[in-house]
């Protein structure tokens, strides 16, 4: 066993850290937050050139063919930099498409940056609660997908839907759908998508039980990568806080000399380490056997609470500085709080955790 980066992972991490630091410095992140800048098509092409949009989809299907754990290192670093780029969504989409015959061409387009595919993951759409979901009935495709990541500019979104009453999972082209801005706690590039168009816009990838399995895989990967990305954010918040309390002088000494502050910093260390290793461990289990999703839900359950604690402690230790829009902490605490809700919230994690134990009736 080795709970540390392999040589290859260390190299990936180093490359990703340098790239994100260079491309997404704090000033640019503030500008994106204000709406004065955005992740542009040229930025996405750069990610494609680096091979990061379809990292672990098999090489023979047009992907990068690297291990999921190695791919996770890039997403971890994306979280560390708080870079608002579509890595998780794009990689999950490429993985799902690569698994269906007839969709390999789509993977190639994702990898090359020619088509931007997002996923309407996931968990919040289970049962069609959010916006009623999509329905293809006869020749028409109708319905709504809410808060689609990068929905303002994606060309295709992978989503569950009902086709003539049956469950299905499809690649839905967004030509002609209405896009309403869905500005969220942390993002300006999400959108609510409203459809009333031709049914041929939805290319069905799977139906029935296969669709359900695909939806499940989508949720599992999306959640796992959300926890990995959260781990990166928690690490940066930890480092930022340690640096701050080591420099900030009150009562004649750095506040890091006060035991109360030291112990709170130790609390941040515990949160960052535990989220990191449970995330990677869960993803490794899934990589070995994709029916083994249990640790993903457990890791997310823990991460949600770790985010709550880190939010409080990091802001407390930073005082007024931490809430300033010219200081990066708020970007992280907003983004990680959104991720805590987004890729499966606490209620869903409770259900996911208890269902296989046979001790509790599911709410759904």
């Amino acid at each position: 066993m080795l709970f540390a980066d392999s040589e290859e992972q260390a190299l990936i991490r180093q490359t990703a850290r340098a790239y994100f630091a260079d491309k997404y410095p704090a000033e640019r992140l503030y500008a994106i937050e204000r709406g004065d800048s955005a992740v542009a098509a040229s930025d996405v092409r750069e990610l494609a050139d680096l091979g990061w949009l379809a990292l672990f989809a098999p090489a023979d299907a047009g992907g990068g063919g690297i291990a999921m754990l190695d791919a996770a290192v890039v997403i971890d670093e994306c979280g560390y930099a708080a870079a608002p780029v579509p890595l998780a969504a794009s990689n999950v989409a490429a993985d799902l498409l690569s698994r269906r015959p007839g969709f390999a061409g789509d993977v190639t387009k994702i990898a090359s940056g020619t088509t931007f595919v997002s996923v309407a993951s996931g968990t919040r759409l289970r049962g069609g609660a959010a916006g009623g979901g999509l329905v293809a009935d006869g020749r028409r495709l109708r319905g709504e997908l809410r808060q689609v990541p990068f929905g303002n500019r994606a060309a295709v979104v992978l989503a569950p839907l009902r086709v003539d009453g049956d469950r299905a999972f499809a690649a839905v082209a967004l030509d002609g759908c209405a896009r309403d801005e869905a500005r969220t706690l942390d993002r300006r590039d999400f959108a609510h998508l409203r459809f009333d168009g031709d049914a041929s816009l939805a290319r069905v990838m799977a139906t029935g039980a296969e669709a359900e399995a695909m939806h499940e895989r989508c949720d599992a990967l999306f959640t796992a990568f959300a926890v990995v990305e959260t781990a990166g954010m928690l690490q940066r918040v930890l480092e930022m806080t340690v640096e701050y309390i080591s420099q900030r002088v009150q009562f004649g000494q750095p506040i890091a000399k006060f035991q109360a502050a030291r112990h709170r910093a130790a609390e941040l260390l515990m949160q960052a380490e535990t989220v990191r290793w449970t995330a990677y461990h869960a993803l490794w289990r899934f990589q070995e056997d994709d029916r083994d999703t249990r640790e993903i839900w457990l890791a997310k359950h823990w991460a949600i609470r770790a985010v709550e604690r880190t939010f409080q402690v990091s802001h407390l230790l930073h005082g007024g500085v931490g809430v300033g829009t010219d200081y990066p902490l708020h970007l992280y605490t907003q983004a990680m709080s959104a991720l805590a809700v987004r890729a499966g919230g606490m209620g869903e994690m409770v259900d996911r955790t208890l269902e296989p134990l046979g001790v509790a009736a599911a709410r759904r």
């Binding site: 709970f3 754990l69 340690v242 130790a266 260390l269 823990w302 955790t353």
Partner: protein, 388 residues
């Protein structure tokens, strides 16, 4: 990263469990439960001897000392299986005394003690803490003064757990009162039947008792010195880092969780209330974290690294989780969980232990083995580089 748990260890766990099924008798369980899980009764000693003869106490020991030469992960797995079943292990003798003797003991000490430890013929009690030296252990005052070929010991220890039933003390004493406090401590092996030792019981909330021990001109030969004189603090702290790995908190929590799930399933049709559902899911997620972090720490040792802040992190997380989960388990089971062992109408976990007893035991680990607040300071210092 490589998270694969070696297949041979899974096999070892299965084989060892099957082996235990064959040798754990109802008499042994009865003795363990009746003693409040603090036994060293005849059935327990016989059980330990059997484990010793069959090679389980020396799994991780080098072959030259009669051990199995296995990696520390075997020791970890052995302790896990034993702890899940709530079976007693002579913890300090196996995890503190034996490895330190192998590391820096004299040839005579190794010959004298290691074979007997391996066969469970002798047991040690640790004498570190004093009334005025707890968290600040290096301030200990019990003195050992050299007198020719002898040391003369005077002083007092507290929380000398097991001293009433052990054979030897593993005693930390001050041998140089002039040196800085960390550099004047030595370790001596002291037979508990030596003249001048008094052992007085000190009752503790989870049952049974620990001890206060008094030393009045106790004489031991200089050959009782372990390693070099005045290097004791270094030996004690180095050993502690490794010891924490052997003692995993996870099996106790898994047993608790499995017991709760089994109880809820057996209640049949009525689904648990929402609070219970939420709490159970949180327990599952917390236990998962501890399992992963426990594996991380064990794998560091197996790879020749010394977990320092990592061991502190695991200790704080696990002990606080344990105290909280026990309290929550009482809430979930309700009033049945309040009934003490031996009375009708109570509730026991899958190993026959009551939750109310575990609640009484749960504060111990918050401060035992180094207070959690000290562990937080270790994380701040070693983990984050925050200067004091």
């Amino acid at each position: 990263m490589d998270f694969a748990y070696p297949a041979e260890l899974d096999e070892f766990r299965r084989d060892f469990s099957a082996y235990l099924d064959g040798i754990v008798t109802p008499e042994l369980i009865d003795e363990i439960v009746r003693s409040g899980f603090e036994t060293r009764g005849p059935a327990t000693v016989a059980f330990w001897r059997r484990l010793g003869i069959d090679g389980y106490f020396g799994l991780g020991w080098p072959a030259e000392y009669g051990g199995g030469g296995k990696s520390v992960l075997y020791l970890h797995a052995f302790n896990y299986v034993m702890a899940y079943r709530r079976l007693p292990v002579p913890v300090v003798t196996l995890n503190t005394v034996a490895p330190t003797l192998m590391w820096i003991g004299s040839e005579e000490q190794k010959r004298e003690y290691l074979p007997k430890i391996l066969r469970a013929e002798i047991e040690f009690s640790i004498g570190y803490t004093e009334p005025e030296a707890g968290t600040d252990l290096a301030s200990l005052q019990t003195r050992a003064v050299r007198d020719g070929d002898w040391y003369i010991i005077n002083g007092q220890k507290i929380f000398t757990t097991g001293a009433h039933q052990a054979d030897y003390l593993w005693l930390a004493v001050r041998t140089d009162p002039e040196a800085p406090k960390h550099r004047g401590i030595s370790i001596l092996i002291v037979p508990l039947d030596a003249k001048g030792i008094e052992v007085r019981p000190l009752g503790i909330m989870h049952g049974g008792h620990t001890n206060i021990t008094y030393y009045d001109n106790v004489r031991v030969p200089v050959s009782a010195l372990v390693g070099e004189e005045n290097r004791g603090w270094y030996y004690m702290t180095t050993q502690l880092d490794f010891e924490r790995v052997a003692i995993s908190p996870v099996p106790h929590l898994e047993r608790l969780f499995d017991s709760l799930c089994a109880a809820l399933r057996s209640e049949g049709a009525s689904p648990p209330d929402e609070w219970t559902r939420v709490t159970l899911a949180q327990m599952a997620a917390d236990i998962n974290v501890l399992k992963v972090m426990d594996l991380k720490t064990a794998s560091m040792v197996a790879n020749g690294q010394v977990p320092v802040y990592e061991a502190s992190l695991l200790k704080v997380l696990s002990n606080e989780a344990r105290a909280r989960m026990i309290a929550e388990a009482l809430q979930i089971v309700g009033e049945r969980a309040l009934v003490r062992a031996g009375c009708a109408g109570g509730f026991t976990d899958v190993a026959g232990d009551t939750f109310e007893r575990q609640l009484r035991e749960s504060p111990i680990t918050l401060f035992g083995g180094g207070s959690n607040d000290i562990q937080r300071d270790i994380m701040a210092g070693h983990g984050l580089g925050l200067a004091r």
